[in-house]
């Protein structure tokens, strides 16, 4: 492979971040195509298992993005997500999984520019972290 490009999985909430990413597109903002977006009803829907599954199936990074605190469509879904992933993030780091591979952000429906910037930075960070080799499932 001449140049390695990271694969990133993004779990986006339907109401804010997905619309934000959509806005980035309709505003014709340019950002790297390395992210694969999965739309979910809420960031509170994300189970820590999703992240493990992504990493073990070859994703180099995982991003969870939801509404800003106070903006959740379901009032409190992102509060629960925030607690859960604060713990998971620390745990993964403790077990030796590069913390850059798992990130979280709040992007609202009007923040298309923030989304484009965020993904650009994220891809840059994951490129520095390099390909996810340790944790990936090997078919042998």
């Amino acid at each position: 492979m001449s140049e390695w490009e990271p694969k990133i999985v993004g779990f986006l909430c339907n109401w804010c971040s997905y619309a934000g990413a959509d806005l980035a597109g309709t505003s014709r903002l340019e950002y790297p195509p390395n992210i694969r977006i999965i739309r979910l009803p809420c960031s509170g829907r994300v189970n820590p298992l999703f992240i493990l599954k992504c990493l073990s199936n070859g994703a180099d990074g995982v991003l969870i993005s939801g509404c800003h605190i106070g903006d959740c469509h379901y009032s409190e879904g992102n509060f629960y997500a925030r607690r859960r992933f604060a713990v998971l993030k620390k745990l993964l780091e403790y077990l030796g999984i590069d913390p850059r591979r798992f990130q979280m952000s709040w992007v609202s429906a009007s923040e298309g520019d923030k989304w484009a910037r965020l993904v650009t930075e994220l891809v840059e960070e994951i490129k520095q972290a390099g390909p996810n080799k340790d944790f990936v499932r090997k078919n042998d």
């Binding site: 298992l49 998971l88 745990l91 780091e93 077990l95 999984i97 913390p99 944790f135 499932r137």
Partner: protein, 287 residues
């Protein structure tokens, strides 16, 4: 002390206050202790209490649906009952807790040798159960000297290592994992009728003994115990290959205490960690 336990057990069975008393009896090797399930007054004399009573008996509470249970409980075991009550897995009126102010148990790996207090007892401060119906105190002279030790010492030591070193360390430890799920079976708080590890549609993680399968299983086990684990240490004791599981549990316990000032198993009225939130939870990791 054991007389007090026996008298109470007898009284409970006689007055039909409970259907069964769960306690400890001598194992066939005449040193160790195994769980005893006593439903006849005649069997009460089998009950014992000594430093080898290591099992967390609250694991057996779920095996007697619809029955009233009397249970002999150490301080740490009562905490796991607190969590079960918090999560509506038990009814308080169905259990009668014979609380024991424990003075520490022995390290089971050193059976028969000198009495060596278990690692987990060294960091334990109040040995008094947070909930009990009757409290039995161990005699003054037998109280073990409790070391004023940082309970998170080994966690802190690991935290200072680099990411690569940490990965190497856990990879070595997990490489021994044979996925027997003894850690899950022994855990009083792992009570799901169907564990995610056995799900096949979708298969969340590999069932094979592999780096990523073993990592996923252990991360998942730890996450499911986040804010619930009360550090009874049964998982580590049951692990046939000696993975330091308590170091993972303690790490989460420490983080949860630092991030949300939450402690598991102290208050039955407290909402479980992940079923509650605070508006001011830290979010410095979120962009």
């Amino acid at each position: 002390m054991i007389d007090q336990i026996k008298t109470k057990a007898k009284e409970l069975l006689k007055t039909k206050k409970v259907d069964i008393v769960i306690g400890y009896k001598k194992a066939s090797d005449r040193i160790g202790a195994i769980p005893a399930f006593i439903d006849k007054e005649g069997d009460i004399d089998k009950l014992i209490w000594d430093g080898y009573c290591v099992y967390n008996l609250s694991n057996y509470l779920k095996d007697f649906p619809g029955k009233k249970i009397g249970i002999v409980t150490k301080g740490c075991d009562a905490k796991s009952m607190t969590v079960l009550l918090q999560e509506n897995q038990l009814k308080r009126e169905d259990i009668f807790i014979i609380g024991i102010e424990c003075s520490g148990i022995v390290d089971e790996k050193r059976k028969g040798g000198d009495i060596a207090y278990d690692e987990r007892c060294k960091g334990c401060k109040p040995a008094t159960p947070p909930i009990y119906d009757v409290l039995i105190k161990e005699e003054e002279k037998k109280q073990a000297p409790r070391l004023e030790q940082d309970p998170y010492e080994s966690v802190r030591k690991l935290e200072t290592k680099s990411i690569e070193e940490k990965f190497k360390f856990w990879q070595d430890e997990f490489s021994r994992c044979i996925r027997c799920y003894a850690c899950r079976q022994i855990c009083p708080l792992c009570y799901c009728p169907r564990c995610v590890a056995e799900q096949t549609q979708p298969a969340w993680f590999s069932k094979a003994v592999s780096v990523e399968g073993n990592f996923s299983w252990n991360v998942n086990r730890a996450m499911h115990l986040a804010g619930r684990c009360i550090d009874c240490g049964e998982c580590e004791r049951a692990c046939p290959v000696g993975i330091p599981l308590r170091d993972i549990n303690k790490k989460i316990e420490k983080d949860v205490k630092e991030l949300f000032s939450y402690e598991a198993g102290v208050d039955t009225e407290q909402k479980p960690l992940f079923s509650s939130f605070d508006k001011n939870d830290p979010e410095d990791f979120i962009k």
